[in-house]
Symmetry: C2
């Protein structure tokens, strides 16, 4: 019996409804694979922020460090500005634990038609750089409050940062046996993106087993809609990966089920897994949130912890559930979070 | 009879095939509206670059300045890096002539089904900031050639730059009578995008007749696929506008017919009109390029010059042509550039 300590941060809104569902699934699949999960709950959230003035306590990161992985629901709350909630919790965790890969698989499931006439079979993974790039604290304003006011923000790309995420993407493409696409915009962003391209080219040259191409982000966004099946692994900067992964989830008609892994591939620190959807204040408290985004995130966690057999069990159960099981309203059904979770547990 | 001097820069590849077609259309519609066009051709291109080492002559901008508007085909050529061709022609023109609005209408035409199950009726305009923002020369590298190498690039947003493009978008939304959506990413880009949001909010507060909302670029990209009909005028930064407008053209299934206007709304300088598609070296020289992107760009030009009746004639002819006229291969037809142009001239 292997035991894992999992830090659970349900967060706000529907985050508090979907994380418990995913924990149940982990317990069920764990029982079949001789894995034990010890969950520690943390109430870090915007709700806590309005009460105590901080998203998490000063020793928050240290407490997380005692765990093998983190399961996050969603943070966000009407009245608390996004840049407070995110830069007070999500982004510090990504950086403190050097979770430099943001992994976002996107699939068109058989039972989920999606908005495109013809996207069935789409099965891709976006590997997003998760610690540097366009998301940078460097910047500020000048001449505030005057007509001459301006703001600057500096994107910062390091050779080390690009190399490691590209290498990760190459490993993944090699494993999946298909191809790698690198998102760029070297024709517009003439300092950072040519640097990105150079390193991509260098790394790919050392990996002849993977076929690859580079595509400008504008064209790539259009092609994801026109020809989504073509793509396998896409490697992108922090901002481009953010945009492409939401876009691809939209293309698959599955924002409610899309997961995201914030991963330290070297396993020096706990990695963090979360659904892509937000806290959805509009439906919070009604018990109708789709738990499958968090369940899929839990499957990514199992995979990361080295249990790909357990992860596959969860994915297979999800596939079957999506084909003919009950669905929450976001997928056109009328089932509750509990009903979907029950049905999934039955399938396991 | 009003006379306009039009600078034509066909550029490379299919640019040289579609610009003459659009000039014919301008002549035809001009004849019906008492407008005369005097075209001056310029061979500025990557082809010129490989021959003479520069995309345009040193006095290029001065020569353009003598014209009322510019019609550009496409630049780009295998072997000439994008950042050379673009920063040697397209981007200097945008900036020297302070063409601070990049206008990109996107429509789903009846006869052009596109990749989405249900996008018919989509009719939106992207108003992209076209001179500052993320496309910036400020930046460089440090520790080149060492493992510590890094590159930085500074986005620069000015109050003046944001205000004027937002005001333009508000005017347009007011005129179209629907709504304004502002693309942001203030939760990730914490210096520049909150500044953008502040100014959008200020300007919109003074225009109660326009209903508006702000949407993060990642969510907006997904929603453009899921619910494209919802959008009317979208205002966005240089980079976000670039991504969204290609994406929206993809959604409409019409990259081959999408136009772009680089506009100085104050009319101090010539504005520049171009199709969104590139030079397409793969089909260049075959006479099968779709001329409608450039034709639609010419309609935007007519509108900008104050002849919206002439512009409407062109658009109506295009609509009819797309419903049941001949089509080039990119739209699934077998017609040539000449055949499509002829058919359009007949409809005019
Ligand atoms: C070619 C490139 C520099 C250009 C841009 O990004 O502005 C193009 O994509 C466009 O949209 O006109
Ligand atoms: C909420 C936001 C800061 C975050 C991001 O952009 O990284 C989110 O969109 C995501 O993709 O996890």
């Amino acid at each position: 019996m292997t035991t894992y300590r999992i830090a659970c941060i349900p967060g706000d809104g529907i985050g508090t409804e979907v994380v418990p569902a995913a924990c149940e699934v982990l317990e069920a699949v764990g029982a079949a694979h001789d894995l034990e999960f010890r969950f520690t709950g943390f109430d870090w959230s915007c709700e806590r922020f309005t009460r105590e003035g901080a998203m998490m306590p000063p020793d928050g990161l240290d407490r997380l460090r005692e765990h093998d992985a983190i399961l996050l629901g969603a943070v966000g709350y009407p009245g608390v500005p996004d840049h407070v909630s995110l830069w007070g919790l999500l982004i510090p965790i990504r950086r403190a634990f050097d979770q430099y890969v943001n992994l976002r698989p996107v699939r068109v499931f058989e039972g989920v038609p999606g908005p495109l006439r013809d996207a069935s079979g789409t099965d891709l993974v976006i590997v997003r750089e998760n610690t540097e790039g366009e998301y940078s604290e460097v910047g500020g304003r000048m001449f505030s409050g005057t007509p001459d006011e301006f703001a600057v923000q500096e994107s910062v790309f390091s050779r080390r940062g690009i190399t490691r995420v590209v290498d990760y993407a190459l490993d993944l493409a090699d494993e999946r046996g298909r191809s790698l696409t690198s998102a760029t915009k070297s024709n517009g962003l003439i300092h950072t993106m040519p640097f990105w391209d150079e390193i991509v080219e260098e790394r790919c040259a050392e990996r002849p087993s993977v076929s690859w191409e580079s595509e400008h982000i504008d064209a790539l966004a259009a092609k994801l809609v026109l020809d989504s099946r073509k793509y396998d692994v896409i490697v992108a900067s922090n901002l481009f990966g953010d945009i492409l992964s939401d876009l691809a989830a939209g293309v698959a008609g599955s924002i409610g089920i899309a997961p995201s892994g914030n991963i330290d591939p070297e396993r020096r620190n706990p990695s963090m897994f979360e659904p892509v959807h937000g806290s959805a204040p509009d439906i919070a408290g009604q018990g109708i949130a789709n738990p499958l985004g968090t369940v899929w995130a839990a499957a990514l966690m199992l995979d990361h912890l080295g249990h790909d057999d357990a992860a596959s069990d969860v994915i297979r159960a999800m596939e079957r559930l999506l084909t003919d099981g009950p669905r929450t309203p976001d997928l056109g059904g009328g089932a509750t979070t509990t009903e979907v979770t029950r049905a999934l547990l039955d399938l396991l």
